[in-house]
Subunit: 475 residues, 4 copies
């Protein structure tokens, strides 16, 4: 089964019937009918349908090297610079349907699994490592167009530098046993975005592991026995696309994943009980440059989405002549162009790596994901400042269908828009930056690659600059 | 009838039966039972009850000069520095019950009407001016403990510098006629916070008026014929004080006020058809210094509320040892102390003004309201940064009452708090800074005194600094 | 000998004949004639003369409790709030003569020695402590109007957290012996501002001492045998007050102080070989609040000086109508007023302390010195931005006395000033913010109370906020 | 005469004997011997010598299309992307010799004259326009390796929006007559960097011209009769490369240029008395993209120079372990990489323009020069913060040659450097950021392309974003 369409995706997810807990209840209906999930599932189905459109097919898919069938470009292992550009275009096509708000559209994790599999050779022959499992699983995922969630973070019990978990009952998920069927995992992981509504969940050690029990990498179906997804409150507040143009469609949900003595079958174990490998696999693999390439491509679309909305607000209330407005729009333009320049540099300077992949230059991508956590909150702030009181003058769709429609039409009209369209635009701006959905988006971008302070520190240590020091010495 | 209690307030508002439109419907039940209003009405009732508490009575009330009965301190005309300090304490007692989140607790408008009435002499003998109406109305309000909303802003049709309304039908509310009963008003005004749930609505020209029709000042009951309040969507998403500790109690609502040929009775007209007076009354009166004093007193409580929550987060996840965390908390401390210093300077340098009021020094209060629009959004950002992923790991009250309670208790426990209390704290932080309610609070503080750029400009023109120029010349 | 005049100060310093090394040479002429020192010595002499002016006498001096003679207010131990206000006025009178640029005008160290002496009781009876030496010395200094430099910082060999000096030869000054004459000091200290041109040098341990050899406090004359001052390059580039209106008069010089086996006579030892006392004396004494009060009083004058210059530039080239200019001037106004509010709060909330001093509230002063290191560099940046190309169009005094005077007069004329006065103003702005002197001023304010990061950390630990946490808990 | 060497350049400039006024005197010695100019002339001579070095020749030069001789790459009209890359490399080779501090190394103006000449066709056939003069002059300049200064700015008399010069005597340079020899210019222009020490001065209207008299473009030798250069004070304070490693070599000088009835010969007039052409020539020509490309290439070298120095300071005093230090270095890295990405994008997306030039994409270059004026001052601030007290502990070369050398060696030693090398490094950092030379560099970058506010505004108007608005509309 090669690329799937939207209905296939929906059916597969509904049939999984994963254990998803929401607001005190285990979901027992079709998850695609549940108010907290129907929006995002439909939006995601839409993405799969795009793969089949005639005019996009060449960008969105490529021919499987094993089956000769059309499969998703997000699974492609790029070998040339043109491949990289095609991959970016594919990512941005999908991103445009959501204004870049679907942080976990399938291309994200597909890229991850692709990069891991391409790097399988680095665990070849190591203790408790199964590189072939990884490769086989990648091929399966690619050919079946599987979707994924994953979880990196351990629970936030205590963030002190000197904290080591001492609980008898595991808190952070760990290996508590193994048998002929597989390894047994107990404990929890945060925060699985789209947890429960993807085919699979990929779990691997984030590095910095100090004991064997926390060293592992595997993927299992979302309906594996013992696996539970505990959701936060949904930020989708209703189905009206006038009232909630974004949250009604792109709320992805985050959940705590509980492993209640989950057995991971051996063929799905990529490695385990190997602390050394767990600590270097992610950083030595092709994971970082390709994942960043996907993320940055999406963030560019998001920044452009903000620019479009900001300018629409400016035009609507006719404030473009003000210098401070021009400065703020220019600030967004600078952000958009900077992100674009960084990805172009990464592609222009891409080189074949040890795994035969055309690897984008990592430096500019590191810069991009270091600055976006500061850029994005500022962009949303600009929207709020430009929108001003309009951001809270937001009557609902029902108001426009009631007896006060005439009043609204008259008193909320704008320079270049009627009241209905103007409120629609402002509700869009509000949902992007001020609704619970919008602020979660901001928080998501702020922490996407971890603590900004840590990002600075990594940049400090990784950036090659000895030639500059030598230059200064000789100056 | 002197100071009222909470029930009296609730009954009065329910009996008003003002025309409030919400989500396409005219509210026809008791407004204090309506989901969008019950929280704030109850919180406000609570404020009135505080006036009667034995240990607070001396601060919250004073003896009426006309009736000898206890009346609200917020109506007091301060004659001494001690009066000013008492007024500040009163304001802050009320503010503490809501963390400073009730921007329109009754003391705000009570202060406004007090200041206007004290300044009535400046319109004495001017054309179409009724200073005695103003004084009499102030006394009535004071003795009956009336509550107010008001509206300053005209609809945001077009913000261009050169825009003049040319519609045949008035958009911005204006005088369209007069007769023996009073003047007749047609058009709209934005944004009446608590519109419809106060006894009265005070309406006056904001200055910058270019024609007589827009020059007026009056107050009318909220249930005056032809008056309609068109609400935005409510940001109170439910009644659970675990889930929504703030929005369930302090969501004040904003509304567009429509004057559909409303007759303002003559005894309630303070002035009309006098452009000159309309343009100077606000600035020459005691309005600004006393209103700012109220606002800054409340903002201090709000900043302290943020500081308390921020520190609670730091303690809960044990991150106080990190330098960048210390820097962020210090930044909040600096904000709190700066605001406090500014109000203390205003009180220390207060002087008797031409109306016999002990007027706080305006300069430091102007500074305070110039900086708070920048300070407050930053404070909320700090909360979000410190809270990190905890800000989106927020299961609901129902989750804690379900079968997954054990999982939550185990996996969401914190260093110094159990899971339930930890989630409660993080939901508080989330409701303050990330819920729709929280972001509206941020927007409210950002624009409370108008466009920040305009505030800068006013400061530029008003600040006395010729002695400094002379000093430089002679240097 | 009570308060002295300028000539007495100059003669005393010339007669000291301290060992000052400048640009590779030991100064062997009168230091008040030396190009690197004559400006500041003259400016300082000017300060002493002010003490004698009839109209200022009452502010600048008070009556000695021991001799009944007039002595300097900067030595006064404040017992009332009025004393504090008088002290501030005295400080600001002096500061105004230099635009606040003389960071080490005598009142700074006089305040320090006053505060130490007032706190002598806390070392009473401790090992190797001589509180009476301290008290007697303070009285001597006060009655003789002595001037001081001091040094806090150890050499910047290695700023790593784990660095401990392991050199055989001491680098940081320490006690290397003692005999019947006194204790013997060897090593160096950074950076003695005005080193060599004050009567005395006060040396004490900054805290954080880990061995007895570095635990001491004493004062010795600047010409003590073995004491050497090694100067940096002077930032006074010439004597023309047109060319260098500030650096020609207020360049204070910084020097490395070398103690080459200096004997400190016993009567000048305040304590030694007592690590515990060395570590707490500064913080438990009245040092911090009074020193901060002096510093903040001076910084306010400096901020006002910047405001005056900024506005003069704006008026000269007529740019006051621009919104961004108004914003920048407003930003300076906010800074000035904030600093003023903080000192007023400190004075308003002053309380008698354990030593009988009327101690200003420390909190707002801590805030003030935490923010000024960020404020001041920004103020200088604003000057540069407003001044624009005018900051580098600065012909010299000689140019205005030459044949090209007509050209300059014509082509450099300004809207409200002739070319000569305009260039004079811009040279003043340049000397304040862009000359080597000006940038050293910026660096001085940036680091005056140590590393800003450390200041944040101290604020984090010292600020009382448990009541806020309790409030949140009970909310 | 094709490419010249350093001596040829020096001789040519000396022989010009232009009228340069410095500190009240007309320079009558060889200008290359004058203390204010010798440093920069020698540094520039060094650049010319680089053109002749065997290993650089291929980058620094190309073959003249007219003579077949080697001429300077900075004069090359790029036809391919490789040409562009070669041009960038050439620029950066030169820039590296000065850390990017020679803002007006010859490649800057050579690029300008190249771009103008390539665009000559746009004034073909227009009134009072001489495109052939421009082309011929470019060829002459190219083949003779001429050097240039130029001036854009009119005197800063009054920056008000409504100011029009009303003086009888021209202030801003303008055409006051014409005769058979040429046009006659009277008035002044600011600020000619390197004025008087280049072969030629290029003068053209900056746009925004409202009368014919101010509409012109021409180039004349620096020693043309009636031409005077009035210098500001030199910021080169001495010849010691230890004391002043940068200012002794790279101080370029700025001057007011006075045209005292200067006759511009007809063959050097490119256009005159054509307001329309004056207003569009610069913007329609290839001037902007190529000039920006040169500037950005140089700014990158400068940013890298800062990074090298910053890291050298960090290593020297061993502060790399501190998080806030890592953050600051990371901030510089982000700046460097962002600027690099922008130029790479401009080159990657270059296209052949209407003049047959391979024109770099203007957008990213506009972004680069919009952000560098904010980036560079921040970079210098970081240096100052990292350097801390070390930035003012700067004894002179003479100190190190005197009796106190042992003290300096001992007390100023650093973790990884001896005292001499440490002071050398800190003097370098000081000269870059805190000397009068350094702050003029900061001011230069801040205002290089004009007022930052105007840059924002231009970006606002020029950036194509209608497709984004359409996207939002259809969302």
């Amino acid at each position: 089964m090669p690329i799937i369409n939207g209905n296939q995706y929906i059916n597969r997810i509904d049939n999984l019937n994963a254990s998803i807990w929401y607001d005190g209840k285990l979901i027992d209906e079709k998850v695609s009918d549940h108010s907290a999930f129907k929006g995002v599932i439909k939006s995601q189905a839409n993405l799969y349908d795009l793969q089949l459109k005639d005019d996009l097919k060449d960008t969105m898919t490529y021919i499987s090297p094993t089956t000769g069938e059309r499969i998703g470009t997000s699974y492609m292992q790029p070998k040339t610079k043109d491949d990289l550009v095609k991959k970016r275009k594919m990512i941005q096509h999908w991103a445009k349907t959501s204004g870049g708000l679907l942080g976990r559209s399938p291309d994200y994790m597909n890229t991850v699994i692709m990069a891991f599999a391409a790097s399988a050779s680095i665990i070849d022959g190591k203790e408790n490592c199964y590189p072939n499992n990884l490769i086989n699983f990648y091929e399966k995922a690619r050919e079946e167009d599987l979707s994924f969630t994953h979880t990196f973070i351990s629970p936030q019990v205590n963030r002190s530098q000197l904290y080591f978990e001492e609980s008898d009952e595991p808190i952070a998920a760990k290996i508590v046993g193994k048998n002929e069927d597989g390894i047994i995992i107990k404990g929890a992981r945060l925060l699985a975005t789209q947890g429960g509504i993807t085919d699979e969940i990929l779990v691997f050690s984030p590095g910095g592991i100090t004991d064997e029990a926390h060293a592992f990498a595997f993927s299992i179906p979302s309906n594996t026995k013992g696996l539970k997804f505990l959701c936060r409150e949904s930020f989708s507040e209703g189905e009206s696309s006038f009232n909630y143009p974004l949250s009604s469609r792109f709320e992805e949900m985050d959940s705590v994943v509980v492993f209640d003595n989950v057995t991971v079958p051996w063929e799905r174990v990529f490695f385990y009980h190997n602390r050394e490998v767990a600590n270097y696999f992610k950083s030595r693999s092709a994971f970082v440059p390709f994942t960043l390439h996907q993320v940055v491509a999406r963030q560019i679309v998001k920044a452009e989405f903000v620019l479009g909305i900001a300018q629409a607000i400016v035009d609507t209330i006719n404030i473009g002549e003000y210098q401070h407005v021009q400065e703020k729009i220019s600030e967004i333009i600078v952000s958009v162009e900077t992100m674009k320049a960084l990805i172009i540099k990464a592609e222009t300077n891409a080189e074949l790596d040890e795994f035969g992949l055309m690897r984008p230059e990592p430096k500019p991508l590191h810069i991009a994901i270091s600055i976006f956590p500061k850029i994005y909150p500022r962009l949303t702030e600009i929207i709020q400042i430009l929108g001003s009181s309009g951001m809270v003058s937001i009557p609902s769709e029902a108001d426009f269908q009631s007896d006060i429609r005439d009043d609204l039409d008259h008193y909320l009209q704008a320079s270049t828009k009627n009241a209905y369209d103007r409120v629609k635009l402002f509700r869009l701006a509000w949902d992007l930056t001020m609704s619970s959905f919008g602020t979660r988006q901001t928080q998501y971008e702020r922490f996407f690659f971890g603590n900004p302070i840590k990002l600075s520190s990594e940049l400090y240590y990784s950036y090659e600059r000895s030639h500059l020091i030598n230059w200064i010495e000789s100056f």
